[in-house]
Point group: C2
Chain length 313, copies 2
């Protein structure tokens, strides 16, 4: 098998499975970089959106991945990833021998290791490559990718990685390490959003000037990336989903399951997860994750900007 | 009463009560700015240290505050602040009429309001002025001060504030507001340290390269000011106290008490406080607050840099 980097003259054939806000941006970035990209999504309207952009669409993952050198999977979780690979109409039916499967869904590292072994047994490469950065960075090709896999997996995937990412962390040759780094990031991100919402609503409860709180905290030792990024949604009273409550129900759930199986206590994660569950149970699951502030407001009779006594939903 | 800013020709007389790592730096900064500073501490060795620097020492708060225009109190909590003001040998016995008491201890806003009323009833001004920034910034006169109080309190205190602070937030004319802002900061700071320690030790449990984890997280959405500042202590295995576990036992305790009395749920604070209590109970109360990582290691059989199986203490 020759890796793509050894054959610079040929156009790289790629598929993107999952054309949500992240996958669509990643597909567009790859197309802009000169790759021959076909997209698939379980929702036909998402495929149509990519076609309207000048992209090529397919009716199944297998059709999208036909003769592909690189298949980038940007689905929600490990179950969907497994279906994309091995389900009826899955990509392993049609990928070019020696092609690489780039797996971006956040998942338990043990599951990533298992998928990697099964993919490699079929003569393909597997790159464990979760991403961070959000839809805007996906669109501009400036994502952060936390990747691990064999040198051949990296080499084969490199045209797609360079098209999608501003920063690529190469974290070793074993699948699972990329996933583990992503879970550490999600642990912190999920707890920090909950702490930010607990704090800003507590400030509101005390009648403090919330714009001033934002100014002081972002210049102080209490700051976090998430406080700085999410609290403006609360100050604007705008809970339109950029990243949803359900994402953290899922990701902190994975962290809690991993930690339980490793006999590792995670009291902060456990407390935060209960709040995401409560927000979801109260009807805010598909709203922005900063909706935890609305939950705290509801639980304490506190007024927040843009909200009446009863939270919107 | 004429405020000091109206009498620029006269040397400002000031006292600093509490010459720990913060108070000593603040006293030195005020002295460097040309104020006539007398220091007091309950520990005579702390006073001697200030005298060895060329400062003037006193045997009681009242002696230190004799004819002072500005008294800066940098003690541990509200009980000590009350004793400094109204106990035997307290500063209100000797402060110049119209002088200002600058209160820097972290405390419940309701207590700050009460102390302010009692001080003002005696003909003095009160500035609610918690600080943030640590010993190095105290020494260089670059603290952040979150202050509230009457315009006269601000005017009278200004020579000391300018000497101590790089940034002064003026948060309104009511005592208690400065204290409330500080508690919001401490809520976040305390939760973020616990989350950072939960995450880095979980990464160690999974055998990840911790230096790489630090590099990736500080460039990702999971970052916090505290993760960036405290995790290097864990990576170096150095738990010498810069700020102690007991500080957050105290400060998250205040947050929890405030929240309980306001019927406001703080599940993240509650979970974090239990970990600080456990660290204190396990003998790490006077060690650096990053010792929570050692606690997580102990509770999960995880190796951390510089630690044998049994945690040092």
């Amino acid at each position: 098998m020759s890796s793509l980097s050894e054959a610079p003259g040929r156009t790289v054939v790629a598929a993107v499975i999952g054309l949500g806000s992240m996958g669509l941006g990643m597909a567009r970035s790859m197309k802009r970089a000169g790759l021959d990209v076909t997209g698939y999504d379980i929702a036909p309207t998402a495929v149509d959106r990519f076609i309207a952009d000048g992209g090529r669409g397919a009716a199944t993952p297998a059709n999208a991945a036909k003769d592909a050198d690189i298949v980038v999977s940007v689905v929600v979780n490990s179950a969907q990833t497994e279906a994309v690979l091995f389900g009826a109409g899955g990509v392993t039916e049609t990928m070019r021998p020696g092609a690489v499967f780039v797996s971006s869904a956040t998942m338990d590292p043990a599951v990533a290791r298992d998928l990697s072994q099964r993919v490699e047994a079929l003569g393909f490469h597997y790159l464990d490559a979760p991403v961070s950065g959000g839809a805007a960075k996906a669109e501009s090709g400036e994502l952060t990718i936390m990747a691990s896999g064999s040198p051949r997996a990296f080499d084969t995937a490199r045209p797609a990685l360079h098209a999608m990412a501003g920063k690529i962390y190469e974290l070793g040759d074993a699948a699972g390490t990329g996933a583990a780094f992503k879970m550490i990031n999600q642990l912190l991100a999920g707890v920090h959003i909950a702490a930010a919402c607990e704090a800003i609503t507590f400030a509101a409860k005390q009648g403090l000037d919330l714009d001033k709180v934002y100014e002081v905290i972002t210049a102080s030792a209490g700051n976090s990336w998430m406080f700085e990024n999410r609290i403006p949604h609360v100050l604007a009273g705008n809970y339109a989903p950029l990243s949803t409550i359900e994402i953290f129900v899922k990701d902190l759930g994975i962290v809690q399951d991993m930690a339980r199986s490793e006999r590792y206590p995670v009291p902060l994660v456990a407390a935060a997860l209960q709040m995401y569950l409560a927000a979801s149970g109260a009807g805010m699951g598909r709203d922005d994750d900063s909706s935890l502030a609305r939950l705290y407001a509801q639980l304490s009779g506190t007024q927040l900007p843009g909200l009446s006594g009863k939270p919107q939903s």
